[in-house]
Amino acid sequence: MARALRVRVDHTRCVGNATCTTIAPGVFKLNDDRQSEAINSVGEPEEIILKAAENCPVSAIRVEDAATGERLF
């Protein structure tokens, strides 16, 4: 079974580029301010979530192993 992840978007950095909602629509949604929120950390496979984090143009996405706290991105 896939490990549980903790996915967070830093709203002091997020510019609403919406790359994450394009790559991982099952995890990220834009809110009313058009900034991204991680609404479901199991909405996509881990590799897709990491791909979304890597492609964030302002490095606003942080991904951790929920059990160990290890930073994955």
């Binding site: 002091t12 510019v15 609403g16 580029n17 919406a18 790359t19 394009t22 301010d33 058009r34 890597e54 492609n55 964030c56 143009p57 302002v58 490095s59």
Partner: protein
């Protein structure tokens, strides 16, 4: 609210000091109808961020959708050339809305990730060292011609995999395309020549990359044709866009930032004393005197904003220098403070069209400013007579002569 502020966006006083002019608009008439050019002028930070984060209300397909002639007006005889220019620019991915914008942007988006751009830092640093070695030998330089221009041209040409010896030729043609944001009556001729020259230069290289893909940016772009995101014409147009956007904006960042640092000696000294401030110093340069002055959208439907109704197909132009100095967003906005934090400037825009090359520009700025304060502690202007290009798109110095003796 009625305003007595004149509407000539190309007037010498507006070109010399956009902060005064747009600051007044921001305070007195933040959603201003500019009757002279028939365009809404937006100047408040919150309004601008709201506008650019609502691409379904404000389309980026300006060249495709705008039914009006260009402003300022052009001679009747040049209308045909404008048709050509307009059609070419309409192929830029930044002139597209969703869904085609997403499809086109994703072709090159992964090339420009923060991690990928970090890998270019040593190359940028080495190029800076070479340029400043040459300058040091001469004892003086024009920051524009001798440093700010060759650096990003070299970097983007290398990314695209273009031969080193073509750089001067590329820069000469690219300069013709900068007429797009200017008021010159006869600007359609250089624009047309610049487009044709660059398209003729790039087309055979693109063809070659399609047959034998490499790992350069031009190959990545050309792969968009293979996967159906681009037509051939769109590959060519977007190669021109990357070349142009990949250097003109960074030239302005380096020149405007260097000037701001020179004019604030205590900030210069602070950066010199703590190289760890290169990141926040670059952000403050981007905020304080941004490389791009304004961009335009076109209303996709009737939209109400601050009691005004922007009608469908109305033009809306948003001014970055004014947003970045909005006192409602930035404490002491006219103060240049390289330790400013937070610094949510909109020099790179925001939303789905946030600048594709932002991280590259940041890397180039950080390395350039660090190297300048490190190598030339006594850098100063050799003239106070500085002039800017008469553009409403770019905030471009014509020259920045300095010495350090």
């Amino acid at each position: 609210m009625a305003t007595t502020i004149h509407d000539d966006l190309f007037a010498p006083d507006v070109i010399a000091d956009p902060y005064g002019y747009f600051g007044r608009l921001r305070a007195e008439d933040p959603v201003h109808w500019n009757a002279k050019y028939e365009v809404w002028v937006l100047t408040r930070y919150d309004d601008i961020v709201w506008l650019i984060r609502h691409p379904e209300l404000f389309s980026s397909e300006v060249f495709k959708r705008d039914p009006r002639p260009p402003y300022p007006p052009i001679p009747e005889a040049d209308v045909e050339m404008y048709g050509f220019v307009r059609e070419f620019f309409a192929d830029f991915f930044i002139q597209h809305d969703r869904p085609s914008h997403t499809e086109m942007r994703m072709v090159t988006h992964s090339y420009f990730t923060p991690r990928a751009m970090e890998a270019w830092r040593p190359m940028v640093r080495a190029a800076i060292k070479d340029l400043l070695d040459d300058a040091e030998a001469k004892g003086q330089m024009d920051v524009m011609q001798d440093f700010a221009t060759p650096l990003p041209v070299l970097v983007i040409a290398r990314m695209l995999g273009l031969p080193e010896q073509d750089r001067r030729f590329i820069r000469e043609l690219a300069q013709k395309l900068l007429f797009i944001g200017r008021g010159d009556l006869n600007r359609m001729r250089p624009l047309t020549d610049g487009i044709k020259g660059l398209a003729d230069y790039l087309s055979p290289l693109i063809k070659e990359r399609l047959a034998h893909p490499g790992d350069d940016l031009l190959s990545v772009l050309a792969s968009g044709e293979t996967r159906g995101a681009f037509s051939r014409d769109e590959v060519v147009a977007n190669a021109v866009l990357l070349l142009l956007a990949g250097h003109e904006t960074t030239i302005n960042l380096i020149c405007n930032g260097t000037l701001a640092l020179i004019r604030h000696p205590e900030q210069w000294a602070l950066l010199q004393a703590s190289s760890g401030l290169a990141v926040s110093a670059t952000e403050e340069c981007l905020r304080y005197d941004p490389p791009v002055k304004s961009l335009q959208r076109i209303a996709a439907e009737d939209v109400e904003l601050r009691g005004n109704v922007l009608r469908k197909l109305d033009r809306a132009r948003w001014f970055i220098p004014s947003a970045n100095r909005d006192p409602a967003k930035f404490p002491e906005p006219d103060r240049f403070d390289i330790t400013r934090d937070p610094n949510p400037h909109v020099a790179f825009g925001s939303g789905i069209h946030h600048c594709l090359g932002a991280t590259l520009a940041r890397v180039e700025g950080q390395e350039a400013f660090s190297a300048l304060v490190d190598r030339f502690p006594a850098l100063h202007l050799t003239t106070e007579e500085l002039e800017y290009q008469p553009s409403i798109t770019f905030r471009s110095l014509k020259a920045l002569p300095v010495t350090w003796n």
